[in-house]
Amino acid sequence: MPRGFTHVLNSSTLQPGELQLKVDNLHLSFGGVQALRGVSLEVRQSEIAAIIGPNGAGKTSLLNCISGLYRPQNGRIHFYNNNQEYELTRLKPYQIARLGIARSFQNIELFKHMTVLDNLMLGRHVHLKANIFTGGLYWGPAQREEIDNRRFLEDIIDLLEIEAIRKKPVGTLAYGLQKRVELGRALALQPSLLILDEPMAGMNAEEKEDMARFILDVNEEHGVTVIIIEHDMGVVMDISDHVIVLDFGAKIGDGTPDEVQRNPDVIRAYLGEEHNILQ
């Protein structure tokens, strides 16, 4: 089987640059509110794609459609891995996770009574094989599995520099660290596609730099494709290869950071109409 990346943190079988995710004419509405109106986009293997847009533009709704939490009324989401094409709008969230699509949330959604290690280990869920009997017995296959996966997690702990807190319950950790643990939990899945919903929201400059460094590490060393929602334009323009702009549920811009910055529609969405200001 051809594999672009042999690194453990990446479970995608595509070569860099191949089409990985294709969102096709997505419509989503809640009652009378149209959250997404005909959004189409493409994401290629190993790029960092940023989705930006004003509040309420439908960014998180789009991610929720990709991870199966929302079911769009119309449109298709195609995902490519293992030489196969999957249609994500027909799958349940846990089935989508098995394809290697991992994500973090805008408001931290960690298991707050569990330790950092247990949170990361839950990220390994789809790779673990213990059942109720071997688990209850522990000694034997379940213990071997726990130790093997612990070894795997220690690499992620190393990467994210969270050695000192591995046994702390996450509920007791500072906000910035919780965000980092949430990234770790997504990485533990060995993502083929990593989706991050505002991973730097509410962070100070130093924490943002750390987080940007981790995302770049994961992308450059391990070749993981990243879709990121972020409001800090400095960060977005610095780290992303591809920027998609949403406004009122529709796509108004798509291209490299430079192209998007020059796009008049995008400027209008962010700064308002010029003549409106003058009048």
């Binding site: 846990y94 994500r103 959604e109 298991f111 009574h113 839950l122 869920h125 130790i147 612990r150």
Partner: protein, 347 residues
Amino acid sequence: MESGIFHTTYESDMALRRTPLMRLRLILVIAAALIFPFLANGYQLTLANQIGITAIGAIGLNILTGFTGQISLGQGAFMAVGAYSSGLLAARLGMPWWLTLPFSCIITAVVGAIFGIPSLRLKGLYLAIATLAAQQIIEWLITHWTVLTGGVEALVVPTPTLFGIRMNDDFNFYWIMLLLLSATTLFAVNLFRTKIGRAFIAIRDQDIAAEVMGVNTFQYKLLAFATSSFFVGLSGALVAQYRNIVNYERFTIETSILYLAVIIIGGLGSVSGSIYGSVFMVLLPAILTNLGRALGGVIPGMSRLIPFIQQGVFGITIILFLIFEPEGLAKIWRDIKDYFRLWPFSY
């Protein structure tokens, strides 16, 4: 005072008893449990057996409510399923008592899983009401399906014997109880440090994140209902075999609430807490009764008041625990251990 324990393998780092002191404490507890029946009188043994049976049921309920976050008011009914299964299999089919235990556990697990189906859509208090329906439906079936259960009449269970020895006298039953309680405890503790148990806790803490990380939440909720009911059924079956008699009145909604109190006082989401809670809830009424009897000579009319005082103290205890230590006896015990571990530098 320890300066630090440094593990050099993941195996020792992940062990249940990580330090020599912890292992010593476990050995002492086991030794005490083994010596106890030779020193105790009949009354104390009866209490110990009650504690053991309650603890198995409480661990079962804690798996569902404390660990998976699915509130259940059907505990009494599920115990009834276990008790009636065991009693009927022994009384009607002549099955040996020890063989009825696994059968009644499995029957209760299936019934529990069926009544867990509403958990697909319902959470929290709404699910509690749905399990309350389970309680009522099962109670109604038991009292009205007279041909099978004997209705409101008590079901007499043949005396359990092993090699001609009567097993439900206090001394002999103690060993059965101890064996099954140890197995239940070990199973539960191991479960929650491996895949399935971790998924249960994840569902309690953040069910949407669990689903997105690959946990089929509905399947796991049903599994939690089944696993929980398995042990609750065991607890019920033991009641049947120990008492020789099964009566639906022992398994009403009051029982369900009592068990919720046990795990709240012991500690939600704690296996050892389930045992502490059971000790507390069995001994408290016993102590109050004895106290009342002792005071009966001094204060006239005391014996009539005992039931009311018991109810009152029961209620006050729960309120006090909810206010001052919502994490229960397990947390108090943990705090005591931490205090002495750090003593005399406890800052």
